[in-house]
Symmetry: C2
Subunit: 195 residues, 2 copies
């Protein structure tokens, strides 16, 4: 199982945003692209993946690859799934997630709770981390990424407490959705060795 | 200079499409994501890149990194640049490109003409190609990709005539925009060796 935890800042925690103006909705466009980068292949989707979007530390929206139906690769339709989840946010009680569409659920988990529930080997992605090509891929990686803002000091501290290591995907700082694509490539090729 | 040539099939060659329904416009959503994957970094854009979208063999829209202004990472605003280029398509005469917004131009080049004008080392991306990790990155790579359809036999033949080699980015078939992201990572890390 591969998991990606994407920490969103200043993103909507209510469904009152327009699908036609996702860049005006706290960079929900970027979070939507993170979801599609996590799942879509040329033919079908990756079933052994979970993506968690942490929305301002208030809610988390969870995507489960083995149960997703009809995920399209465009950001608008993915953002619509997030909006539906937020419409049903009152059904999420405590840390218990409520499914809002097949394979998509919402909970009141913050970043710490999402990481604690994820299990697996937590890898913080950061440009100052160790180069990923020199590291054997773990069996159940949990990659932690931030949106266009860096993690706050508080978020970074709680990730570092739980992370096995901090890894870098390359010398240039890239967007979170592109980082997910590269991380998948690292795992698909078993550390850039199998093609 | 890094170049990416993306071959679009059944895509609009006139500007009569809705920015709110890009998946209904011959997968223009995918082509738009190819452009942003080609250019955007966390802070700024890649200036040493050109992306060419070949639209049904009738027009090509060219993006020049050193001249682009205000390219946003969401697919809708990038698709708007393509639409503007198509609105001005009558200004493209023969193979001479007409600039339609800063760094964006349109020409009547087909795939063969785009490749012949690109120069550099042409690399066809295909899942049956040689694993890219074992290949030294060329100085001026020109990657050729197709949209969600495979290249036609005719297109494949003319690419193969001009390609130095056929390379694979990994064992799983991924979308063209994700392939561009992985190709950049291969080049950024000098063949997965520099982090």
């Amino acid at each position: 199982m591969r998991q990606f935890v994407v920490v969103g800042h200043d993103v909507p925690t209510t469904p009152e945003f327009s699908l036609g103006d996702l860049t005006g909705a706290g960079r929900l466009d970027l979070l939507a692209r993170c979801v599609t980068a996590g799942f879509v292949l040329s033919h079908g989707i990756r079933e052994d993946v979970r993506v968690h979007l942490v929305l301002d530390g208030e809610y988390a929206v969870h995507f489960e690859g083995s149960e997703l139906q009809g995920l399209n690769p465009d950001e608008r339709s993915t953002a619509a799934l997030v909006r539906t989840a937020l419409e049903d946010r009152e059904e999420a009680i405590g840390h218990v997630a409520a499914e809002t569409t097949p394979g998509v659920s919402i909970s009141r988990r913050d970043l710490a709770a999402v990481l604690d529930d994820a299990g697996g080997t937590v890898l913080r992605l950061h440009e100052n981390g160790d180069g990923v090509a020199g590291i054997d891929p773990p069996d159940d990686p949990v990659f932690v990424l931030s949106d266009e803002r860096d993690l706050t000091d508080e978020e970074a501290a709680l990730v570092d407490e739980r992370a096995d290591r901090c890894v870098s995907l390359g010398p240039r700082a890239i967007h979170a959705d592109h980082a997910i694509t590269v991380a998948h490539n690292y795992l698909d090729t078993d550390g850039f060795s199998e093609y």
